[in-house]
């Protein structure tokens, strides 16, 4: 309530807090920790694939690593990072005193560390952690599942509860707490993307909860949802999972669209090109994401009409996505561009995400997908949308808003080092995977044919480079907090938005009375 109320001291400040900035920071730190945990698993995977043959881990452990890497990166690194950014920035951007439901906000966060304790505990159980891939296809996750699967299922439930409460909070905040005068179509683009993302979360997290509950029942209660012997169908699992799974991939990309739409105008010193079309494109993408799920399972044996429907519906998504890409390019066109770290990551996002989009378009062609399915081409595709998509956007956002969070400027030259090595490492890792996939190397296998050795070696070297570079990122953040030069209220020349009207670092309570919107 009171404007000059200072945060309490000690650990309990963080445990009991209802402050959106505290909670945002905790989300971001959790995300960073999980990014390193998941990244460490990626290093194990790349080390095993460094050369043909089995050398470092046994195949079952390899399967556990790919499963946990996927789960931790999606649910632990990318999603909490975006929720953290939403927590920190949305109230500042729309002129709200805090999130709409501050205590529930704390609960959304504090469920997560426990969920990841639950998930990670499976690594130390007899029989090991889940080893069926993050998609948990039945019957690998039922009849042939390790004992620890129950803990995995409950961990997913906890993450789901957290996401649903987080989404409700974001919707209530955006719909109800905007400063007077800020109409929906005057909202910053980041708020728009998060509003749509929150609806996606609300619509599909319950579906995930439902489908893993059915796994639980098949394992423990004798039901036969995914067992044809009882009249069920294992393919049903895939349908329901991907009904969640496809909107999920938009959940982890839409907020980055918002970030890029914020940063590109700032460093081009031009307003965002085509704001209204951006909003409609977002809406279209969100709608279409519900009717394309079966393109993940073209080879499972669907009727021809199904293959055709899902192929064309998927291709239609490239229209609104194309609108966004062209708008971003048009935003930069004839702007006076400068290339600070947030801008570098954003430009790399536009270029590399487009590559990921194109390989997605290739995969969407059902007959061609029969060749690509479950090969490294798919691995290359989704890493091209996750890494330079979601992760680069998170890096860009971090650099862009670090001065607002910490009150200090980060080390720009070190950030450029971080960018270039990340950029090179990422492309070295994932670009060769396109060739590996087209040549037929299957995914999720720890060993491979000799003909794939060269490209795998390159990918592993790139992976280690990428991984090591992230330590620079960690160092850079700590350095910024400890010894960074003090930043002004609005350190970026071209940046606009309410968040730049409050001091840096942002005071503990901001906008207790809403600002005037012209």
């Amino acid at each position: 309530m009171s404007e000059h109320h200072n945060p309490p001291k000690g650990l309990m400040r963080w445990v009991l807090t209802t402050n959106h900035k505290d909670i945002g920071s905790m989300y971001l730190w959790l995300s960073l920790i999980m990014f390193f945990v998941g990244g460490f698993m990626a290093m194990i995977i790349r080390a095993e694939l460094f050369e043909p043959g089995l050398q470092i881990v046994d195949p079952n452990f390899y399967n556990q690593m790919i499963t946990m890497h996927g789960l931790i990166m999606i649910f632990g690194a990318v999603m909490p990072a975006f929720t953290g950014l939403a927590n920190w920035m949305l109230p500042l951007m729309i002129g709200a005193p805090d999130m709409a439901l501050p205590r529930m906000n704390n609960w959304s966060f504090w469920i997560l560390p426990f969920a990841f304790i639950m998930l990670s505990s499976t690594l130390f159980m007899e029989g090991g952690s889940p080893n069926f891939g993050w998609t948990a296809y039945a019957p690998l996750s039922t009849t042939y599942a390790p004992n620890s699967t129950t803990f995995f299922i409950f961990a997913i439930h906890m993450m789901g509860i957290s996401s649903i409460m987080g989404a409700i909070n974001i919707i209530a905040t955006i719909l109800n707490l905007r400063a007077p005068g800020m109409t929906l179509m005057k909202m910053p683009m980041f708020a728009w993307t998060w509003l749509i993302t929150a609806y996606l979360l609300l619509a599909v997290m319950p579906v995930l909860a439902g489908v893993v509950t059915m796994l639980l029942m098949d394992i423990h209660f004798g039901t036969s949802f995914f067992n044809a012997g009882g009249g069920g169908d294992p393919v049903l699992y895939q349908h329901v999972f991907w009904f969640f799974g496809h909107p999920e991939v938009y959940i982890v990309i839409l907020p980055s669209f918002g970030i890029i739409s914020t940063i590109l105008p700032a460093f081009s010193r031009k307003p965002l090109f085509g704001y209204t079309s951006m909003v409609y494109a977002l809406g279209s993408i969100a709608f279409l994401s519900f009717i394309v799920w079966a393109h993940h399972m073209f080879t499972v044996g669907m009727p021809l009409v199904g293959e055709l429907f899902f192929m064309y519906a998927t291709m239609v998504i490239s229209v609104p996505t194309g609108v966004k890409i062209f708008n971003w390019v048009a935003t930069m066109f004839r702007g006076s561009l400068t290339f600070e770290a947030p801008m570098l990551f954003s430009i790399a996002f536009v270029v590399l995400f487009t590559i990921g989009g194109f390989s997605g378009l290739m995969l969407a062609i059902a007959p061609a997908d029969f060749q690509y399915h479950d090969t490294y081409f798919v691995v290359a595709h989704f890493h091209y949308v996750f890494v330079p998509g979601s992760v680069f956007a998170i890096f860009a956002a971090t650099y862009y808003w670090l001065p607002k969070w910490t009150g200090n400027m980060y080390d720009e030259s070190l950030a450029k080092v971080h960018f270039w090595f990340t950029f090179i490492g990422m492309n070295l890792t994932f670009f060769p995977m396109h060739f590996l996939g087209l040549a037929g190397m299957p995914r999720r296998i720890p060993d491979y044919n000799l003909q794939f050795a060269d490209f795998n070696l390159i990918a592993s070297v790139g992976g280690f480079l990428f991984g090591a570079t992230q330590l620079v990122f960690l160092f850079l953040i700590i350095k910024c907090i400890k010894t960074g030069k003090p930043a002004s209220e609005s350190p970026w020349e071209g940046a606009e938005g309410l968040e730049w009207t409050v001091p840096s670092p942002a005071p503990y309570h901001t906008f207790s009375t809403p600002p005037d919107i012209k």
Binding site: L16, T18, R103, M104, W107, I111, N176, G230, L236
Partner: protein, 292 residues
């Protein structure tokens, strides 16, 4: 322009108590599920029961806190809207939860089961040449592993009674809702109490039905996809009715204590929204699980 301040609560212990309790409950629950074929350890019981108690303690404490704040007049009209949006979108997520289960029922009935029959899909004949598609499915493809039910529930007995009970309860709740708007406290209490009774009666008959299904009809979780979908849908619905009834009982107690007024009774409204939601789900269940 005047502005009513938006209440941002100070630090709260309830979320962390909730997180720890939820974790303990689920961890203990997972241990029980893992150990029930051999020997369930004391530790597993302590975890799950302790977690459950902690969760109940958290809910009671948290809501108590919110009620006190509401009575202190800390909540503005804007805060009220936040609560409303919160409840509406929570119910939306619950609807999606049930949409999932209805969808799997349609998929099973219209696609999965017909395709196991070799008259629809010749390949299935290689595995189960005897299998004939049917709904309700009394003979499963593999009857050793999943012995089919002898019979299924007759929709025109208990389920019809339950339908009448729930529809009536929605009606009585609406009467109570109208009464509270006109500040008719006693009338509200009577109709609300009646709603709770209907809810409890529904749960009683649902339990009767389950016992009958297990003991007389051989309709169990293990009796193939009919039993699986039947218990999944009715079970989760029954769980929601249980929650809804508990919520209504709490609201009734608060009503008797005089917590609500004609102007301020969002707790009552949220509970009634929730109750109407479980009611609508039941109509879907009655049609697609029992009748059709």
């Amino acid at each position: 322009m005047t502005y009513e301040p938006y209440y941002v609560p100070a630090q709260s212990p309830w979320p962390i108590i909730g997180s720890i309790s939820l974790f303990t409950l689920l961890f203990g629950g997972a241990l029980i599920l893992q150990q029930y074929t051999t020997h369930i350890s004391m530790f597993a019981y302590i975890c799950s029961i302790g977690g459950l108690l902690g969760l109940i303690f958290m809910l009671a404490g948290w809501f108590n806190h919110v009620i006190i704040e509401a009575h202190q007049g800390l909540y503005s009209a804007q805060m009220d809207r936040s609560f409303r949006w919160g409840m509406i979108w929570f119910i939306f997520s619950e609807i999606m939860f049930f949409v999932t289960f209805f969808s799997i029922l349609y998929y099973i009935r219209m696609h999965a089961v017909p395709n196991l029959d070799q008259n629809t899909n010749p390949v299935s004949g290689l595995l189960w040449p005897e299998f004939k598609q049917n709904w309700p499915l009394l003979q499963n493809p593999n009857n050793q592993l999943f012995p089919g039910p002898r019979e299924v529930i007759n929709p025109w007995q208990l389920p019809l009674l339950n339908t009448i009970l729930l529809v009536t309860s929605s009606l009585t709740l609406t009467i109570a809702h109208h009464a509270i708007r006109f500040n008719q406290r006693i009338k509200t209490i009577i109709w609300l109490a009646l709603t709770v009774c209907f809810g409890l009666a529904f749960l009683f008959f649902q339990a009767e039905e389950y016992i009958h299904a297990y003991q007389a009809l051989g309709l169990t979780l293990n009796s193939g996809i009919y039993g699986s979908t039947f218990f999944l849908l009715t079970g989760f619905h029954g769980f929601h009715v249980t929650l809804g009834t508990l919520i209504l009982i709490i609201i009734l107690a608060r009503m008797i204590k005089g917590h609500f007024s004609a102007e301020q009774h969002f707790g009552f409204e949220a509970a009634s929204w929730y109750w109407h939601f479980v009611d609508v789900v039941w109509i879907g269940l009655f049609l697609f699980v029992y009748v059709l």
